[in-house]
């Protein structure tokens, strides 16, 4: 069998079609972006080679970039430590044959299906100074007229909360499939040892689910570092750039300020940052994956 699975010809047939398409359509454009990042380029006229100057600006004189990166870290932390645990909880509960499982699974997924433009509009209405949140606070006797979206202290948080919330259903679906994929034999064995319910979840489900949790964690992390939609729709990075994230700055440079070279450098930075952090995440998960294979 090992001979069959190490046959070079078979490996090529399995890998080549997908890989070639991916190299041509994704990797080459990525490196072109990296190349543009070395130029002073307005996106239409002459390119002037300036070496690493764009990167130098990024790390030294750009007044907004550091804040933007920090902002994306806040979202990343929220996604990893709030979003994924909730999704995991829901996935395990639903996979354990709750009454109306199909209904819940569909309803919980709905926010993922709806366009971010609509979701953003909705949350804008919630956070408006005359909106739902202040109405609820008022009803609870904490009358408040904060304009959450345009207050520099709260603006970024108004985008983080919906961003964390919107993707819960997304991770729930992946994790749910992972739970469903665990062979029932494991549970039967555990039952004999007296492990059911919560105990079974921590002893069997979660360890065995580690590879899937890792995939979700990677998606959540990378998704946070390059977050764009909701921030762009809700605050556009404002007021005074306090709620910028790297991708909104990049978008502005690419398509609004016509600083294509600089925007490309920011894009390349985002990719590099994602690579670095998913590598770290890999290291963290390596251990737990090994544990999983012990069961």
């Amino acid at each position: 069998m090992k001979k069959l699975l190490s046959n070079k010809w078979y490996v090529t047939v399995f890998v080549a079609p997908g890989l070639i398409l991916f190299l041509v359509m994704a990797v080459i454009p990525l490196f072109t972006t990296g190349y543009y990042g070395l130029f002073n380029y307005d996106g239409i006229g002459q390119k002037v080679f300036i070496g690493l100057k764009n990167y130098k600006e990024l790390f030294t004189t750009d007044p907004y970039f550091k804040r933007a990166v920090l902002n994306s870290f806040i979202l990343a932390a929220g996604s990893l430590f709030i979003q994924i645990p909730i999704a995991l909880f829901l996935a395990i509960v639903l996979a354990n044959r709750v009454k109306g499982e199909g209904f819940y699974r569909t309803v919980f997924f709905l926010p993922v299906v709806i366009s971010s433009m609509v979701i953003g509009q909705l949350w804008c209405k919630i956070f408006n100074s005359e909106g739902l949140l202040n109405a609820i606070l008022g009803a609870l006797g904490m009358a408040n007229d904060t304009a959450w979206l345009v207050n520099p202290k709260t603006a970024y948080m108004t985008t983080v909360i919906p961003a964390i919330w919107q993707s819960i259903g997304y991770h729930m679906v992946i994790l749910y499939a992972g739970v469903k994929n665990i062979s029932p034999e494991y549970y039967e064995a555990a039952k004999l040892d007296g492990a059911t319910g919560f105990k079974a979840a921590t002893k069997i489900t979660i360890p065995l689910l580690m590879p899937t949790i890792k995939v979700c964690a990677t998606f959540a992390l990378v998704g946070s570092l390059r977050v764009f939609d909701l921030v762009y729709v809700m605050t556009g990075g404002g007021p005074n750039h306090v709620s910028e994230v790297p991708a909104t700055l990049m978008y502005d440079n690419l398509f609004v300020k016509c600083r294509y070279g600089y925007g490309s450098a920011q894009a390349f930075f985002i990719v590099f940052e994602c690579l670095l952090f998913s590598f770290l995440l890999n290291l963290i998960f390596k251990k737990s994956e090994e544990n999983a294979s012990m069961i």
């Binding site: 069998m1 699975l5 190490s6 490996v11 047939v13 399995f14 890998v15 079609p17 997908g18 890989l19 398409l21 991916f22 359509m25 994704a26 990797v27 454009p29 990525l30 072109t32 972006t33 543009y36 509960v93 709750v98 199909g102 819940y104 569909t106 309803v107 919980f108 997924f109 709905l110 926010p111 299906v113 709806i114 366009s115 609509v118 909705l122 909106g131 739902l132 679906v173 749910y176 499939a177 469903k180 994929n181 029932p184 065995l208 590879p211 995939v215 990677t218 998606f219 998704g223 764009f228 990049m250 690419l254 398509f255 490309s264 920011q266 894009a267 985002i270 990719v271 690579l275 998913s278």
Partner: protein, 279 residues
Amino acid sequence: MKISAMKIKKTLIYLFLAVFTFIQIFPFYWLVTFSFKSNTEIFDSNNLVGLPKVWHLENFSKALMGGEILRYLLNSVFYAAVTVVVSTLLASMVAYAINRMYWKAKGIVAAIFSLGIMIPVQATLLPLFQGLDRLGIRGGYLGLMLPYITFAMPMTVMILGGFFKALPREIEEAACIDGCNIFNMFFKIILPMIRPGIATSCIFAFLNTWNELLFANTFVDDAKYKTLPVGIMSFVGEHSTNWGIIGAGMVIATLPTVLIYLLLSKQVQESFTVGAVKG
């Protein structure tokens, strides 16, 4: 004693599910009411949750009749179907090779594919556009489909990776003894076993293609090849926009997604019993 503790726990869980259901269903409810409203109601800051004062049913007929929404809907179905099928086929083969076959470069190939979820798409817009131009495939179905397939693959590779890993080695060994060739083994034995994974990754491949706007706006030149989201956005006017029609368009666009989700997630749910039988 024990039973009542169980009961409390169960009640708590159902209570939580009920609250969460309310939260999750709210945006959809809001979108639906939005789609029946006029601008003055949609943007009225004092009226967030109410039903429309006047039900503007014509928003839906206008959304369906104005422009060529039905044609765009069919186009979108076509793009999404081909993307889901082709990307799943290619990516599942790659994922299998990475996770189950023996070869040296698999780490590198896995890393290359993981780049796919990290690239900020807005930045690849121009290079990709230039590339498609050079290849002479820009402007037709293919010029949009290939990028869609490409950017659907990395996620599928990663999601399926976990499922391939979880398979016991005995399966391939058993297949080998039966004298199965590798393609038969892969398509007839392995793939059916990871059905929940495939169904899940298909959901996302579909969703990403169905809602995509940036590529669809930029890589398509001819109205013949336009997608539904582009068609919906065409209702945005230069100076004024009837947002209720756009809401109606979005409701129409959401329904197929929910349908596909129902169909595919049923596959995931049933996998438990399938697993039990084979076990």
